[in-house]
């Protein structure tokens, strides 16, 4: 078994707003259907709420905070799941059910087990 982070890149939506009710319902269905494989995850507030923190000049240097996401893009990191699957093919089959997969895409990254 391998654990994968399924990083969801989609439109920059506010998942708490009524306009997104349809989408959040689809996510709820997905989570229920794949409960056996899901080990964790979170939906993220839109990038308008994001703050980037950087330390200039190495550890202990000046802390620089800026408004906005790390990278400006049309499709943004809007949530993630931690899923467990036998292999990449099984993980792909699960990721293809995540609503973000047809509203952008899902990046599957194997998780390091320390």
């Amino acid at each position: 078994m391998t654990q994968y982070a399924a990083l969801i890149y989609s439109h920059d939506g506010d998942w708490t707003s009524p306009e997104e009710a349809e989408t959040t319902k689809m996510y709820a269905e997905f989570s229920e259907n794949q409960a056996a494989s899901i080990r964790g995850g979170a939906a993220l507030h839109p990038t308008s709420t994001a703050t980037v923190v950087k330390v200039e000049g190495g550890r202990g240097g000046d802390v620089l905070t800026t408004d906005g996401p790390f990278v400006e893009a049309r499709e943004v990191l809007s949530g993630f799941y931690l899923i467990e699957a036998d292999d990449l093919d099984s993980a792909v089959a699960i990721a293809a059910q995540i609503p973000g997969a047809w509203d952008g895409g899902v990046e599957l990254r194997p998780v390091i087990q320390f």
């Binding site: 994968y4 699957a85 036998d86 292999d87 990449l88 993980a91 792909v92 194997p110």
Partner: protein
């Protein structure tokens, strides 16, 4: 042997190292003790033992699951059907869509064809160091991302097979690429070898027969495609007595089988191979069966409506129904203004119709599309000849 070890060890790296160590061991023992009765079994047993050692060493370092037990219990002689499935698994791992095409071709050459890293680097026109790094990264991804080592379920098989066939064909076409790129006949040979392996492993797949046939039929004309000066020679002007009759016979037989098997569901490779067979089996250019070829292009257009297919069909119409009809077909195609071959084909037909001024203009337009060097020289020669 390698394929089976990869399955039993679950690691491409462990298996490859073990096979290599077994070979070194053979070099030490055989000259001293004599070659064993069954060298293959000897090598397999030694490689398996080396793999067990390697896995135990690795297990001792961490708390990794110990898989060595499976290996020691495995009987020494593996039945052919198991070897066949192991090889097939390896094909699907090497050509997994989660790997880039460059990595798929690299893995195919090293793991399936057994080429050295140095040879693979030379064939893929890169340095040995870069090739070694690419291989390491690809194997790392297979291991870490959990790219499976198995034959896909039936539902996924057609799509995955298409991906495998495309990778093999890409290797083949990379081998024949002319112009500024060197022709790499060994790459064509390796692609054909892979094609044969695939047909052997999955004898019921018409697309794989089509793929092998297409490569054989194209390869049969290898020597005649360029002249001694390295310049392009058109199909009409090639010396057909120099074509490889054995390859053509094999390719044509495969096409027959593939078309019979696929019936009306013939795919891209079956159809392209059938077109290649029409050309390769015509005794002279004038005896080419253009009606058959046009019908095959029509079928191909329904599958892949690409500019090149439409262009080729128009050229075939020109051969069957005359230059005026061909030109008419060409002029009906839109969106090819930036494609040098469209202009060059128009120029040829215009020249045949005696419309020399228009032909010259079309040749100029072809050159303005900055074609590959070999094509450019060919167009310039045709242009000079048409005046």
């Amino acid at each position: 042997m390698l394929a089976t070890l990869i399955r039993t060890t679950g690691s491409m790296t462990v298996a490859e190292d073990a096979v290599q160590e077994a070979a070194i061991s053979a070099l030490e023992h055989w000259p001293r003790d004599g070659v064993p009765d069954n060298p293959r079994a000897w090598l397999t047993t030694v490689a398996r033992r080396k793999a067990v050692d390697a896995i135990r060493r690795e297990a001792a370092r961490g708390d990794k699951e110990v898989r060595a037990m499976d290996l020691t219990n495995d009987p020494g002689d593996v039945p052919d059907s198991v070897v066949r499935d192991d090889e097939l698994r390896l094909v699907f791992t090497c050509c997994h869509p989660a790997l880039s095409l460059a990595n798929q071709t690299t893995l195919s050459l090293t793991t399936l064809c057994g080429l050295s890293v140095a040879d693979t680097a030379r064939l893929m026109l890169t340095t040995e160091g870069a090739m070694a790094r690419r291989l390491t990264r690809a194997k790392h991804k297979i291991a870490v991302a959990g790219i499976p080592y198995r034959i896909p379920p039936d539902a996924e098989l057609p799509e995955r097979l298409a991906a495998v066939a495309t990778t093999v064909y890409l290797l083949f076409t990379a081998g024949v690429a002319g112009g500024d790129e060197p022709v790499r006949p060994q790459l064509c040979d390796e692609a054909i070898r892979l094609g044969r392996l695939l047909v052997e492993l999955l004898p019921d797949e018409s697309s794989l027969q089509g793929l092998l046939a297409l490569m054989l039929l194209n390869d049969a004309r290898r020597e005649t495609r360029t002249n001694s000066a390295g310049e392009l020679v058109l199909l009409a002007d090639q010396d057909r007595s120099q074509w490889d009759a054995t390859r053509i016979a094999e390719g044509a037989a495969l096409v027959d089988g593939a078309l019979r098997r696929s019936r009306h569901r013939a795919g891209r490779f079956e159809l392209e191979a059938a077109i290649a067979a029409c050309h390769a089996t015509a005794r002279t250019y004038d005896e080419t069966d253009w009606t058959d070829i046009i019908a095959l292009y029509d079928a191909l257009l329904r599958l892949t409506p690409t500019a090149v297919v439409r262009l080729n069909r128009a050229v075939a119409v020109g051969e069957r129904d005359g230059a005026a009809a061909g030109l008419d077909e060409l002029d009906q195609l839109s969106g090819l203004e930036r494609f040098h071959l469209w202009h060059a084909c128009r120029a040829e037909l215009l020249a045949r119709l005696g419309r020399i001024e228009q032909a010259a203009a079309a040749y100029e337009s072809a050159l303005a599309c900055t074609p590959p060097a070999a094509d450019r020289r060919h167009i310039e020669r045709r242009m000079a000849a048409s005046r």
